[in-house]
């Protein structure tokens, strides 16, 4: 086999693969998964390894490679945010109820509406869930396998992207909260004043199973 023929079938050198990943990530505003990188790069490439080199190369630069769920994206370094006032998108100010509901979904996911209400001690208003869905920060998760099969809510990858989190496991303070038992769905010893039909589930402790 001639040398040229061989090179036709061999994967490009790693330095070249790194350039490819760099170009693809740069071109996209949305995070790109490793699977998508692989499907777009020539046969035989190892985008995961190329990504590792690329992340290292951009450490400490003005833009970084960040991980969002299973995907990767370039984002500007947070310490340079002050330069970007022109780029800032004025976002709607979230109500306290919306912020708390979002936090409860993030930390307790998958979580049912009843559980959110039990934690906050008030009914979740219709607009709140609607708004968080519209922002694409939450979505419906798997139904709970309990009587009534209530729907659950979980946070999305856009949520992770927005708050610069690799995964829900990286939520600030989540380990401490779990260790303190504050993420348990502790059954109330008696139906307390808030009416909750579905019994708290023991199965819920598998938080963040992936």
């Amino acid at each position: 086999m001639s040398e040229q023929e061989q090179s036709l079938f061999a994967a490009p050198p790693m330095g070249e693969q790194e350039r490819m990943v760099e170009a693809i990530l740069f071109a996209s505003t949305e995070p790109v998964t490793v699977a998508e990188l692989r499907s777009r790069m020539p046969h035989g490439c190892d985008p995961a390894e190329a990504l590792a080199y690329l992340r290292k190369r951009y450490e400490g630069r003005g833009v970084h490679v960040v991980k969002v769920g299973d995907a990767f994206a370039f984002r500007t370094a947070a310490d340079l945010g002050f330069l970007m006032s022109r780029e800032t998108v004025e976002t709607r100010k979230l109500s306290r109820a919306a912020i708390e509901t979002l936090a409860i979904i993030a930390y307790h996911q998958p979580v049912t509406r009843t559980e959110i209400e039990e934690i906050r001690g008030v009914a979740v208003s219709r607009g709140t869930i609607d708004l968080l869905m519209e922002l694409e920060w939450i979505r419906f998760g798997r139904r709970r396998m309990t009587p009534g099969r209530p729907v659950t809510f979980v946070v999305t990858d856009s949520f992770l992207d927005h708050f610069g989190l690799e995964s829900a496991r990286d939520l600030p303070g989540i380990k401490e909260l779990r260790a303190a038992g504050l993420l348990d769905s502790r059954p109330s010893p008696m139906a307390p004043p808030s009416e909750d039909e579905d019994e708290p589930q023991p199965g819920q402790s598998e938080l963040f199973e992936d």
Binding site: E87, R96, L102, A103, F163, L177, P193
Partner: protein
């Protein structure tokens, strides 16, 4: 002299406390439910939530509710439900348990309430920390100029789950929003009634209630009955004008009676 200072001091403290309580009351709309109010009240105990006195908290809450009542402030029902429950809990905490009493102990209930407060507080703090993080498009940024120029142009269609659910919801509730149309199914016209009565009147030698002439099936719904009654009434007036029927009514709202006319 010193005594008087003490007295003034005490007076001042009492005033401050009263003002604080009133400030809390005025702010009642600002509370997100009874649990939020309890959490605010618990801060006055100035201890770790794990060592909170639930008994004292119950008393504070009940005092708050009483005060709101005396100021004629309307409280939402769930505040009153919580008050009733706390009054129950308070009595359970104060009285020795009845022998052989089933169900959870007062201590269990109190511990659970303390847990709920601690958990709410923890979620508040978590929410604050979350919102305090660097955020996309505020502190860090995505590529401002995504590239997408290429010769290959492929059209694909997209929809979100939200679109899907809204579409389904719209379909399933379509009937609720039917545009207004006259409901002809339940309308009995005067022409129909006239036709009917002309056929029937020949058999009415004695006084008979107009009601008994309504067609079968037109007394099931109020709407149909009203329409049929009105149509038949108009029809007999028309027939009376022509002398085909005689009409009488003994008093206002009494049944209307008819019989064959004198002609």
């Amino acid at each position: 002299m010193a005594e008087q200072d003490d007295w003034i001091e005490a007076e001042r403290n009492a005033t401050a406390e009263r003002l604080a309580a009133e400030a809390l009351i005025v702010d009642v709309d600002g509370f997100e439910g009874p649990l939020d109010l309890l959490l605010t009240l618990s801060r006055t105990q100035k201890v770790d939530l794990r060592r909170i006195s639930v008994l004292q908290l119950a008393e504070q809450y009940l005092a708050f509710i009483n005060r709101a009542a005396s100021l004629r402030i309307e409280l939402a029902a769930d505040y009153l439900v919580m008050a009733a429950w706390l009054a129950f809990l308070k009595s359970r905490l104060l009285l020795p348990p009845e022998p052989g009493e089933a169900g959870p102990s007062a201590e269990d209930l109190a511990a659970h309430l303390a847990f709920q407060l601690e958990r709410l507080q923890a979620m508040r703090e978590a929410a604050a920390r979350l919102m305090g993080r660097d955020q996309l498009a505020r502190d860090f940024f995505a590529r401002g100029l995504p590239e997408g120029i290429s010769l290959h142009r492929k059209v694909t269609y997209d929809a979100s789950l939200l679109d899907l659910m809204r579409a389904y919801a719209r379909l399933r509730t379509k009937d609720e929003f039917r545009p207004f149309v006259l409901d002809r199914k339940h309308v009995f016209t005067m022409e129909q009634a006239l036709e009917r009565m002309r056929g029937l009147i020949g058999y009415v030698g004695e006084w008979a209630d107009l009601q008994s002439f309504l067609p079968d099936g037109w007394d099931v719904s109020p709407m149909a009955r009203r329409s049929a009654t009105a149509a038949h009434f108009a029809a007999i007036l028309e027939m009376a004008k022509r002398g085909q029927v005689a009409i009488r009514q003994s008093e206002t709202f009494a049944p209307i009676q008819i019989r064959r006319g004198p002609e």
